[in-house]
Subunit: 134 residues, 2 copies
């Protein structure tokens, strides 16, 4: 079995994880997704949620970010390269992209003799709705 052959079967559990992700409006942990599935009466094992998320992350179908305690958060995202602007209060996330940043990253990398550079970038702030509600 090669890597490209795994994760191809369509099961009730995988569809459930996908739909839970699509209902979520912000980044969610595996545990939260598992809980929301249980709450709606869909029985899916926690390990399966983790496996599904990992496979989707590997395939690039979901984005993974980590908070400052190292917990992983998942979100269904567009497939092109982008970054996130996340509200620190409500968790709402906006996809943003910045050619300027990509160019800057490449330039900095080559100036320092680095090659094959990838980058991770997240913006965290307070969205207007949350700022207004205080």
């Amino acid at each position: 079995m090669t890597d490209s052959e795994v994760g191809t079967r369509s099961t009730r559990q995988r569809q459930a994880v996908v739909s839970a992700l699509e209902e979520a409006t912000s980044f969610s942990t595996a545990q939260e997704l598992h809980e929301s599935l249980r709450a709606r009466g869909t029985k899916v094992g926690l390990a399966t949620v983790y496996r599904s998320l990992q496979r989707m992350a590997d395939a690039g179908d979901v984005d993974v970010i980590r908070n400052d305690t190292g917990e992983a958060f998942y979100r269904r995202c567009s497939s092109h390269h982008h970054h996130h602007l996340i509200c620190r209060e409500c968790g709402r996330a906006v996809e943003v992209s910045g050619p300027a940043v990509e160019e800057w990253a490449d330039r900095i990398a080559s100036e320092n003799g680095f090659s094959d550079v990838s980058h991770s970038l997240e913006l965290v702030g307070t969205c207007n709705a949350c700022a207004a509600g205080r």
Copy 2:
């Protein structure tokens, strides 16, 4: 006791953690620092290493980044705002700063109605030494 009053005492253990950090040429985990202290014959508890690192991180004296498995890596850094360009093979880290990125982040944030925006950015690549050695 207020926050400003904690972490003021000078102890052998704290000095040891600081010196271990200064000897390290790249980002290190708490476990690695603990091990290097033990290796040189300095007895310091693991919990103390964690506590010292956390306090320094809170004070802004060290930078913390996380790898893709969520483990925390620490490094003694300059105190002004900056980012890192890290070699994925040898772990060597270069501090970089980019006014362009800061401005872009602020602009994107305000365009989307976000305020109080902070950002995290890391560049990962292969340094020239490692690229040459292959």
